[in-house]
């Protein structure tokens, strides 16, 4: 999962401070802004063995760029098409907005994304 130093990483910290439960397989790399994610990092993570990559966008909160979310959306799309090209399921990358106090939203996203990845795996195994 990619978070942003100033916004979504705060929400993830808050989830921890509030002792909200989420899977320990969720591991976070914090960066300055989601619009600065290189799509190849995402494909690299999937290739390296991560089941999925979640990109937390800052929604309207980003202090750097007003259209940060739109930019992030574009690079996530790029990552998805790269994944598809390499034969991976594009749904293994997902993007969601997290504000700096969206700890509940973070945990819900993680649970939901975890379930989705589980389903993907099951489908893949069946096929």
């Amino acid at each position: 999962m990619f978070s942003t130093n100033a916004i979504s990483d705060m929400a993830i910290d808050l989830a921890g401070s509030s002792h909200l439960d989420y899977s320990p397989t969720v591991q976070v790399i914090a960066i300055p802004c989601s619009s600065g994610i290189n799509p190849t990092w995402i494909t690299h993570a999937v290739e390296a063995g991560f089941d999925g990559v979640f990109v937390a966008a800052d929604g309207g909160e980003c202090a750097y760029i007003p259209d940060c979310t739109a930019r992030t959306g574009r690079l996530v799309e790029q990552a998805q098409s790269l994944l598809t090209k390499s034969g991976s399921d594009a749904r293994r990358v997902k993007m969601g907005a997290l504000c700096s106090v969206c700890s509940d939203a973070f945990v819900n996203h993680m649970k939901q994304f975890g379930r989705e990845l589980e389903e993907l795996r099951a489908t893949a195994a069946a096929a």
């Binding site: 705060m10 910290d13 397989t25 290189n38 690299h44 760029i65 106090v101």
Partner: protein, 577 residues
Amino acid sequence: MTEEPPRRIGVMICQCGGNISDYVDTEKVRAEVAKQGDVVATRVEMFACSDSAQESMVQMIREKKLDGVVVCSCSPKLHLSTFRAMTQRGGLNPYEYTQVNIREQCSWAHTHDKPAATEKALRLVRAGVAKTALSTPLERMRVETIPQVLVIGAGIAGLRAALALSDLGISVHLIEKAPEPGGHVARWGRVFPNDKDGRGLIDTLVREVRARENIVLYLGTELTEMSGRIGSFRVKVRTPTAETISLNVGSIVVATGFETYAPKPGELGFGLEGVVTLPELKELLATNPSRLEYHGKAVRSIAYVYCVGSREEGSETNLRTYCSRYCCSATSHIATVITGMDPGIRQFHLFRDIRTYGKYEAIYERALRGGSVFLRFGEEAPPSVTSENGQLVVKVKDRLMAGEEVELRPDLVVLVTGMVPREDGEVARVLKIPIGKDGFFHEIHVKLRPVETVVDGVFIAGAAQGPKNLAESVTSSMAAVSKAAALLLKGYVDLDPMVAEVNPDLCAWCDACTLACPYGAVEKVDHGGTAVARINGILCKGEGACVPVCPKQAVSVKGYTNDQVRSMIDALVQEVA
């Protein structure tokens, strides 16, 4: 024979007095990470941030000739700068330091699964080591600061902030949206705890503000644009004559205050003749301090209903579960003022809990002794306020009478309305400062960085941050002043060196980064005869918008290079024995 590792990294693991070590086997993590290439020294500390632990680490940096440091402890939001400074004291470049968050993002989140928490901690530490192994020394960029501050809002917090900054020799542009300065306090009459006249307090401050040469007060003026960065913001404000003025300031203090909760029509009788809000009663008293009259009729009895608009769910985007802090004390105080005016006026206070905390408890007791009667109602059974032939009827189940219904027929019903955030989000939008769940401006850390926002150089003061009484507003305003002044009086600010850079050997000048950069930080320069992009580090904010758009992958942000991020990813998935 063993090969000398390319890097000499030291790792310090913090137990945080059990906050981490109760869930993460810190010794196991240490032992595992010690096996890692590049790691030459490891230690576990009870409190890594303690002076003694830092001192030991400084010694270790020197003795083991470390060239990189990793501290695994709490969130970098708390102690990144602490350990960067420590690293520097050890003689290293502070950017050869990495903080790994194994508390908020590990031990505290996974308290139910200690082995998994330990495994995750190890993965996170390895990622930290991997990132550090690829770190390079970075130099901060020093830029001059402009010794001027924009203070937004000329209520008590803003006025007081302007004067305090002025005292320190810092010029202030004080803008106020309303045509008059003073905010709520100017309309409030006598205020607790000292019984001072609100209008008088404001008048004194405004007189002083107008007398200062280094304060400019702009009334009816709003902020419209902000650009630039800490130390040098360019802001635009619009005056009542629709004229736009550009200002250049080093810092911004936001003191935009609050709005009073406006009851919905019919909520607790709101809209009926004789039902007023707390601020309306204050204004009533301020207008006629010798006699309590409502629409020309003498008031002989009053029923106050507390917690109107506070401590309830509110809406999803505007949670009002908070206590508005000032209303219990303010209402108790008003009761004493009214008793002082005419002890024969009966006052009934319908409350949920009385929160006249700290020294304001004395005000509550004065109200009690003055004859005010307090009736406690439960959240599940709020009072009802109706009107029968023009006579107000208040019914409440008094918990102190075992829920017996009490019917009052007061001349005046006062809805003790709480504080809500300002509706118009213009300031937040322009300044891009985050807003909390309750709709008020959000500080970085409620205890450790209570007036700072994620936008460096922008501080919050007063009730814009959340409900505060007058004294607390001014206290927080002084805190914001001290942060702004500390920044500006130094004359310079060291900017984070983690900005973007272009590898000129890969760049083919396609202009993509120029288009992506919102700050105009990309310059076209010549590199051995070909045109390439170069980043102006002072203008660059390091957010990295240019990174994904480069078709040649020639751009990266220092500290977040391709190699670093990839190696972190590899470290995270590395097998755990």
